[in-house]
Point group: C2
Chain length 109, copies 2
């Protein structure tokens, strides 16, 4: 069923998807930068510094994998991003209504 | 030659050395915390965030190893810390004059 929909993605849809990924990436990384800046501004203990390091290690690993465009998982990737708040359904307007509703349903699971 | 001097370290000298290691550790980590706080305060780019992460990874690894008390390498460890500016010769007053001068010579190499 997913394979059927994949075949039907037009070039325009793929471009919309690519652009939306970039937008979400921008949102998540901007929020991360602001978060790290805030946390760092009140750093006084070594323990907190290493906590910051652990947080960065986790986030870097997570972000590196999450924004690769992969046609076979893009619906699930988008659903995850919507759920996490980095992607909005309006960012992917132009995709087929059934794709949008699938993403929307998955995002609420 | 080093082994001879090792045998001659009294308990008092070992305590002085332990204390000095802690002092140097405190200096280096405080400077690191201040450095990270400063760098983070002007963070705007993702590239700079990952640079900060790399820096923390390196420093954490370095600091973890550097402050282990090891009697067989303590003279060299102290020389390195003096060279780097984290330890001062006055912190290790109470060690034998020949130990102090060895550290001092090594620190200038």
């Amino acid at each position: 069923m997913l394979q059927d929909s994949e075949k039907q993605w037009s070039e325009t849809e793929k471009q919309i998807a690519q652009q939306a990924l970039q937008t979400a990436h921008q949102r998540e990384t901007s929020a991360l930068i602001a978060n790290i800046r805030d946390r760092a501004s009140s750093l006084t203990e070594l323990e907190d510094l290493w906590y910051l390091h652990d947080l960065l290690s986790t986030k870097r690993h997570e972000i590196d994998g999450k924004y690769e465009y992969n046609q076979s998982t893009i619906v699930f990737d988008f659903a995850r991003l919507v759920k996490e708040g980095w992607l909005r359904l309006e960012d992917i307007q132009g995709l087929k209504p059934e794709t949008l509703s699938k993403i929307s349903v998955l995002a609420r699971m």
